[in-house]
């Protein structure tokens, strides 16, 4: 009894290849292959609801654009310094001049409300500040100490609206301990040289070069 059931079921469920062919079904025909993976973006069943379009919205769109345009024209929009991609171009000089014309403007801030390190300051102060003991960048205390001296000198200095920035500090932070002696010399060198913003910019390229090989080069005076 039990055998009968199984036997009948078996023959019913799977036909042999020949049987299938006799029925006119070729191999693979009954199972259409799904070749493509499901789409990355399945079709959306619902659309988002319409956005409002009224006078108030139009007004807001206009003032929004005006506001952003205003900000982009103002010194609050901080521009990149260098667009050089390693290839020197004739046009670079003009581009930079245009850029620097914008950069020359200083953001109008209530300086008293700003931390001293953000206030515009004269750079000669910095030069004096560089003469300090060798510091260890990884040592928080040492940094603090160094900053302390730096800051103190800065504060003593006049607060003229000169915005020349000290590029070298960047190098200092990026450099490792071994480079530090050189860095300091370099800093002084740069300090002497950099008299205006545009100059500062052009120095930038050289600066990076120097960073690479300043282990070999002695300090330049």
């Amino acid at each position: 009894m039990a055998g009968r059931g199984r036997g009948r079921g078996g023959s019913n469920l799977s036909l042999t290849h020949d049987q299938l062919q006799a029925l006119g079904i070729a191999r693979g025909e009954n199972t259409p292959q799904i070749v493509a993976p499901p789409p990355l973006f399945p079709k959306l069943e619902v659309k988002p609801l319409p956005l409002p379009s009224d006078a108030a919205t139009d007004y807001m769109l206009i003032v929004k654009d005006q506001f952003i345009e205003y900000l982009h024209e103002s010194p609050a929009y901080v521009r990149k310094e260098a667009e050089t991609d390693g290839i020197e171009r004739y046009s670079d000089k003009y581009k930079m001049l245009a850029l620097n014309a914008k950069k020359d403007k200083v953001l109008d801030c209530v300086w008293a409300n700003m931390p001293p390190e953000l206030r515009p300051q004269a750079k000669k102060v910095r030069k004096a500040a560089t003469a300090g003991p060798k510091r260890k960048l990884n040592d928080a205390e040492a940094i603090a100490k160094r900053l302390q001296t730096l800051e103190k000198k800065e504060i003593q200095g006049d607060e003229a609206m000169e915005t020349n920035e000290n590029e070298e500090t960047v190098n200092n932070q990026e450099g490792n301990d071994d480079e530090e002696v050189e860095d300091e010399h370099e800093e002084e060198f740069e300090m002497d040289d950099g008299t205006d913003y545009a100059n500062n910019y052009f120095d930038n390229g050289e600066d990076y070069d120097e960073e690479d090989d300043n282990l070999d080069d002695g300090p330049v005076y």
Partner: protein, 507 residues
Amino acid sequence: MSHQMGRVVSAILERHFGEIVQKVGDDLFSYGSRPISMIVRNTGLPRNQVIDSLRTLLKFDLATFEPYNDVIVDYKLLPDNVLLLIRYPRYLLQMKSKYGSEAELLVEELLQQATCTATTLLFNIATKFKDDKEKSITILGLKDMFISLVTAGYIQQAPVAELKEGSEIPTLVPVATIVPDLDSRALVQAMNNGHINDIKDNIYWRVNYDRFHLDFRDEIMIKAITRRIDENAGELMRFLLEKMYLTSAPWAPESSPLCAVELRERCRSAATDKPLLHQFVDQYLKVLEENGGGFVRRVGDAGSGQFTVRSRHAALQLVLCALEHCVTERLGSKAARIFRLIYTKKYIEEDDIQKNAMLVNKECKQLTYKLMEEHFISVQPMRKPASAGGMAKAIYLYHVKLHSVAYTGLEMCYRSLHNVLRRAAHERSAHARLVDKQRRVRTIVHGMRLRGETQRNIDDVEETLTPPELAVLQGVEKRLKQLSTAELELDRNLFIFKWYFMYPYVE
């Protein structure tokens, strides 16, 4: 502060202040509080650019600082304030529609300057419009409006720097706003002189966002009541809010009790405008309480009825409504039915969901699981005490943890906002060259017009933009407009979530 929030904040900073400020902002967002040297080291940006960026952030109140010790200053981003940058147009709209164009000009200028003395503010605007006879903007008119706005709290005094002894790092201390006494004669004199050197003014002002937000909140509540009941009830809601400001903290979860007598008086003074409200004020109070989404609750009988305004509850109802809309659009109205059902019943078994929602069993289950998958509902297993049969069966109770669902909604808002901003940036950069060309052509044409050159010459210049180019430009413009509109709408949505999260979570 979530990852998604960081992404939006980053995109907003880029849009408004460029990539460098964005980088500095990103750094501050991910590391919390840190000094310049650390920012410089981590971003690899030149120190002067980091300084420029920090100036921008501090000026617009997008970051704060505090001394780490006597010399080192730690900077901290204020991401919530960064988000407000995209609300700028709404502040102006509010001013324009509530107080007119003078108020609009004042707030516009003040938002652009971030902080400014009254003298400079008034002088600059008046000078700008000196020759504009149509608008007839005078420095005295501006002055009066300025004082009105200060009195109404839209403009407040900026914090002032205080120096602690032995430290050079200022601390910004908030000060109470005193309505200024501006010398009209001196202002007029300054206009005649063309400069303000003679006026000594060292009080700085800034826009008080919070005051605007209260307006937005009130409007949302009033509008909701108007939708639910009618304009009279909406107006009554407005009066309740008005009275509330006199006795309670403006964002109080529940206001202190307000007397029906006072409200009746207030309605009497508005009788010509809203006669029905005046006639049926007590009835309206009853209907507002019973059918007004629980925004108002009766708390006592003294003074012929005492009522509180429930800002927290209103925020909850509105967030719930926003989430329901969201479920409806994402998963369909049947899913929204299940969501609401579970919320109403607090805890409910799967079988009962099907019975109450009147859905086909299979569909109901599918939707329930979908809702769970998208974190709109959650499930809590409960062990039944072992029954007589010996088999201890667990029952599963579904419920809505509104606080965490609202968080999901907030995150979706952030995501969408970020995506809209990113997409717009992508759109702009993909067509930067063409847009730039269009701008140049416009500038040239403008110059030619001023010089009075012939139309033919002007046409020649204009034709440098080919028809296909113009078609592309039109498309870009349309898409950017759509994305901008979406940004404004998402911000409006965000406002409701922020309002809800303003109140600490209670079970």
